[in-house]
């Protein structure tokens, strides 16, 4: 390891570069989190002492995030949306993994590229194209049959579809990678012992995939929670948290309650990331 750098000076400067890089990565996150605890009406220096008011205080002007109705509602909608998105995308992602690992069919390579594509399409474009199609269908149904399809108007359903459209690529890639490592002799042994196909799937293959499915679900949940670009175009009156925060930032300006939400979200993400790491480490084969 590291034979390529012999001179101690170069070695030290390389290390310094890495330290600087990680300071660069951490700086804005620390700033966003830390000011949640500053006892001031604005997230600026100087430090005026430690407080938890921006989380728990129930009166203006220092209304804490857990008493702020609109933020809590945003959190609730984000949670609902993220749950649906992660369940759907893990299901389709698992099907895709079996499709691309276990089966051969014409133009497989083309379809594989098609599966990866949503990841590189700009989120804004996914948002407007789905919005345009949904409105188009809703309008023509209304015109021809006089039924207003509320579902296809901007709202939670469309947000779920929009996020699902590219998050499925992520879950597919994660689950496919795991299925590729599966040792086929395990299934064969079960078949030889007389097990049925569904039985083998349920007791051997799916348990083997479970860590990847959980990890994929967590990633999908987080990506859904933090998505902005696609959601922006599909959102109705039920705004998820990122949209509510953005609104607050543009209209009210930065207030420490946004720092409190940031801290809360970072804590949640860290916990979920930790779980996904542990789940994957636990069953490393």
């Amino acid at each position: 390891m590291g034979q390529s750098i012999q001179q101690p000076f170069l070695r030290q400067s390389y290390r310094l570069y890495m330290v600087l890089f990680f300071i660069f990565l951490a700086a804005p996150l620390i700033a966003a989190g830390l000011f949640a605890f500053n006892d001031s009406l604005f997230p600026v220096l100087p430090w005026r002492g430690f407080t938890l008011d921006w989380f728990f205080n129930d009166t203006e002007p220092k209304l804490g995030m857990f008493h702020d109705r609109r933020l809590l509602r945003g959190l609730y909608y984000s949670f609902i949306i993220a749950c649906f998105v992660s369940m759907l995308s893990v299901f389709v992602g698992t099907c895709n993994a079996f499709l691309f690992v276990r089966h051969d069919f014409p133009a497989k390579n083309f379809f594989y590229i098609l599966m990866v594509l949503p990841l590189v399409i700009p989120g804004v474009i996914l948002g407007i194209s789905i919005l345009a199609m949904a409105s188009n269908i809703a309008n023509s149904v209304e015109k021809s049959m006089g039924i207003d399809l509320e579902l296809l108007r901007p709202g939670i359903f469309l947000v779920v579809l929009g996020q699902f459209s590219f998050i499925t690529t992520i879950t597919s890639l994660i689950i496919t990678a795991r299925l590729k490592k599966f040792d086929d002799t395990m299934e064969e042994a079960a078949f030889n012992l007389g097990a049925s196909k569904t039985h083998v799937l349920r007791t051997i293959t799916l348990p083997f995939l479970r860590p990847a499915m959980i990890a994929g679900g967590i990633v999908a949940f987080l990506v859904s929670f933090e998505n902005f670009n696609t959601t922006l175009f599909l959102v109705g009156s039920e705004a998820p948290l990122t949209i509510t925060m953005y609104d607050r930032m543009v209209k009210v300006g930065s207030t420490p309650v946004l720092n409190a939400v940031s801290f809360f979200l970072m804590l949640g993400s860290a916990l979920l990331a930790l779980i996904s790491v542990l789940v994957q480490r636990d069953t490393k084969t």
Binding site: I5, L99, H103, F105, F164
Partner: protein, 292 residues
């Protein structure tokens, strides 16, 4: 698998597995994009009366503000891609080749942390650091280096920095995984044959890492060109980013036809840049981003 029953069962399984995939790609990716293209060809000539034609695209070409914004978005994104590669490569190399086994995993995880934090929060953090009343400005004032507060937001350098920050991880991840697969002996052989550090980097390491470099560059370029929050929040309302124009047409002016045309122009433009990049580097989409 010779028995016809087993073959039928297998075909049935294939069809059942193909269904969710086909529904997803067809209903949420292919059809919406075709619909968007058709929409972009429509033009309102009178209330509720539409005609088909290329007028929305002609309008785009005739208005310098629009295509200047597109070109600006493209060039800035290329700069961001280049900087992300320049900054990310040494980090990826350190993680893949120099760090010990234990630090390696930890450093890699550390790199991923910002990925779990929303774009919005990252931009918010930068605003708190860089604005006139921000942390850096007040710290510099307190230490006596400057006398008056300085505004570091709302300029191009900050937008570039913010974008590099947002996308650099997507450069590091594919680089680490390709460099990880590289045999250390290849590097040693280069030194033993008398190459210096630079030759080894240029003749051995970079050619080997090329698929990872190209994959990272494609993702980073697309993410940067398609980003919305970072340029707007760090560059101010007049940051002239192309996604902002799309938003403007769609939401503010409610001109969906022209917004769809703009969306298509962006898609076409970024696809051409990616295609050129693949051609110039001699790679294909399936050897880089869609690598299985």
């Amino acid at each position: 698998m010779s028995r016809p029953v087993a073959k039928d069962a297998r075909n049935l399984a294939l069809i059942l597995l193909f269904m969710p995939f086909a529904l997803w790609i067809l209903l949420l990716i292919v059809l919406p994009h075709i619909g968007m293209f058709v929409l972009s060809l429509k033009e309102k000539v009178a209330p509720r009366v539409y005609e088909y034609g290329f007028d929305n695209y002609i309008n785009f070409a005739q208005e310098p503000i629009y295509w200047n914004t597109l070109l600006r978005t493209g060039t800035v994104s290329l700069l961001v891609t280049f900087l992300a590669l320049l900054i990310g490569f040494p980090v990826a190399y350190y993680i893949a080749k120099i760090a010990g086994k234990r630090t390696k995993g930890a450093l890699f995880l550390l790199c991923l942390i910002p990925l779990w934090v929303s774009d919005l929060i990252r931009a918010f953090g930068w605003i708190l650091l860089l604005r006139e009343t921000g942390v850096i400005s007040s710290a510099l004032q307190a230490s006596g280096i400057i006398n008056t507060p300085i505004e570091m937001l709302y300029n191009d350098a900050t937008v570039v920095m913010g974008l590099v920050y947002t996308v650099v991880l997507f450069m590091i991840v594919p680089l680490v995984s390709t460099l990880d697969g590289m045999n250390d002996e290849m590097i040693e052989a280069g030194y033993n044959l008398g190459g210096n550090g630079f030759t080894v980097l240029r003749r051995i390491i970079i050619p080997y890492a090329m698929p990872g470099i190209v994959a990272g560059c494609i993702v980073v370029f697309m993410l940067s060109a398609g980003s919305y929050l970072t340029p707007i929040l760090l560059g101010g309302k007049n940051s002239s980013w192309f996604t902002e124009q799309i938003y403007d047409q769609f939401i503010s002016r409610y001109n969906w036809e022209s917004g769809a045309a703009f969306g298509f122009v962006l898609l076409l433009f970024t696809s051409i840049v990616v295609w050129l990049g693949l051609k110039l580097s001699g790679q294909t989409l399936s050897s880089t981003v869609a690598k299985s």
